[in-house]
Amino acid sequence: MSPILGIGGGVFLIPFLLFVIKIPIHQAIATSLVTVIATSSAAASVNVGRQLANIPLGMTLELTTTIGAILGGVTAGLLQAQVLHLLFGILLVIVAIFMMLRLSVADLPITSSSPGALGGRYYDPLLGCQVSYGVRRLPLAMAISLLAGNISGLLGVGGGVIKVPALTLICGIPIKAATATSNFMIGVTAVASAFIYYARGQVEPVVTAATVLGVLAGSALGTRVLPQIKSRWIVLLFFIVLLVLATEMMMKGLKR
């Protein structure tokens, strides 16, 4: 569902692992992080080949996003499960809102500018021209990457929901390059905190392996099937699903 919704699978995977497989939230977060590494690496290998992911920019932002992820991973170890449930519920509400807003972000006009040291250039067949872009406000983007990494390490999501709008609205990068660059970064962000969960013994091999294989197969199938489905209805459906899951998570968090 990720390509059509513009969000990673973690927001759906963690509630599934909690409510269906019934594993503790720390293990669910660890499983999700390892899954994020798999999907990000698979997608990035394609995006890098297509010259869409901006590697120099991605590497620069990884400096802060990895530090944020480590801090998030350490913080998660100190927090009780109930607090994490509550925080994840709040995150789901934010993701639902961002998912709806993303449609309008995608409609932003593309302005052509000189690439500079960190910018990029790619050919867009839909526009029928070469898109050239520079990178604005890098220090602010690095600060937001720190926050995105922190949320990723704390709650087991990729953090793309923060990175993509930040790259588009703050740095002025076209949405296609922003999505590919965010995806390129997510794997490294996830691994920074996944090592911490691994050291704590929270990466359960059987559940994680089955989840990774299932998600990889699902994303391969999704890229073939989903383009034929009308995206607006799916976004609306999942907006409702996310709000229901958010309510469940917050209620679990508030339960004594």
Binding site: A38, A44, M59, R121, Y123, F195, A209, A210
Partner: protein
């Protein structure tokens, strides 16, 4: 998207990163799928002769395969960062070599410092 050369990245660097990610995911998937298959076969008493040989002849347990698969997967982005630094060095883009090595150092700190 149609392949177009990026203004600031040589094809070799891109290829190095792309292949690292691809082979990392494929290799770890092979290990994970083999581990799951052996585990299922073991649980359902479907340990055929060749599986028995695989398990006892080489001495590999299903859980070992899963652990290896997960470690290969987790180290794929780390190797990708290393490859990027090599690619940037070959391109003589020293600023990004420093950035890549900085990221690599942070990842190594996360793994080796045993932070819990």
């Amino acid at each position: 998207m149609i392949n177009q050369p990026e203004p600031h990245l040589k094809k070799f660097t891109t290829l190095l990163i792309q292949k690292t990610l691809l082979y990392g995911v494929v290799l770890s998937s092979i290990f994970l799928a083999s581990g799951i298959a052996l585990l299922l076969a073991h649980r359902k008493n479907l340990v055929w002769e060749h599986l028995w040989l695989f398990r006892h002849g080489i001495g590999v347990e299903p859980r070992d395969l899963l652990q290896w698969g997960l470690l290969i997967l987790m180290f794929t982005p780390v190797v990708r960062v290393l490859m990027a630094s090599i690619g940037f060095a070959l391109d003589k883009r020293w600023r990004f070599v420093a950035v890549s090595l900085g990221v690599l150092m942070i990842l190594m700190l996360s793994f080796f410092s045993n932070i819990k």
